[in-house]
Symmetry: C2
Subunit: 116 residues, 2 copies
Amino acid sequence: MALKLRKNKSPLPPEPCALTDCMALISGAWAPNVIWCLRMEPRRFNELRVDIPPISAKVLSTRLTELKARGLINRNVLPTSPPSVEYELTAFGQELIPALDAIVQVGHKLKLKESE
Amino acid sequence: MALKLRKNKSPLPPEPCALTDCMALISGAWAPNVIWCLRMEPRRFNELRVDIPPISAKVLSTRLTELKARGLINRNVLPTSPPSVEYELTAFGQELIPALDAIVQVGHKLKLKESE
DNA sequence: CGGGATCCGGCAAGATACTG
DNA sequence: CAGTATCTTGCCGGATCCCG
């Protein structure tokens, strides 16, 4: 006997697209970490480099360029004697923080499971 | 004159690790979509294939195997005449739903921005 | 200090074909 | 229906060197 038929019309309207589209925003290795590091205050290139354990300068640079192109961060050049550059989240970038926060919560639970 | 010094000791203890660890859970293309499609009810292989636009059988199979290995989903073989297999979220897999939901929310806002 | 240019390697994803 | 096998491709990230 066949199993109870479930409607094949999936109960998922445009959500998968929204999911995919937003995942694309934070795609690329370290991108979520970069956003996370900027959540409290603007930070400079080498500060981010130190914050995010073993990220290479090239990848960090690439990621920052991408995130700027996606409208998630701003890049501000400060007119100081050793030239310095600050990166900060845009208003739209800020909107990702709750999502990343939810992800971090799961990460914490994962840690607890591992230590059992 | 030098810029106001910010403490270089980053204000981010182990959160980046939690972030990275949880991101690893949903790594792999389509993995978030698979979890999302399973959030309401168990679904079968070909149902997922239809739900998730252009995913190949190989990739879906690979992803399902990975997610099972990570403890996020269960695989149940049903003893029906055409053999059928159901996939469902585990309790731990359920914990990802709030995070994915937050991501979807951002995706919707992104849609609105685009249509402006 | 804050990057860009280049080369290179690996893995993941796509396409296609085959199976129990 | 529910996959597996194999091949191929493309992109992403790491390393290194160099620049204003």
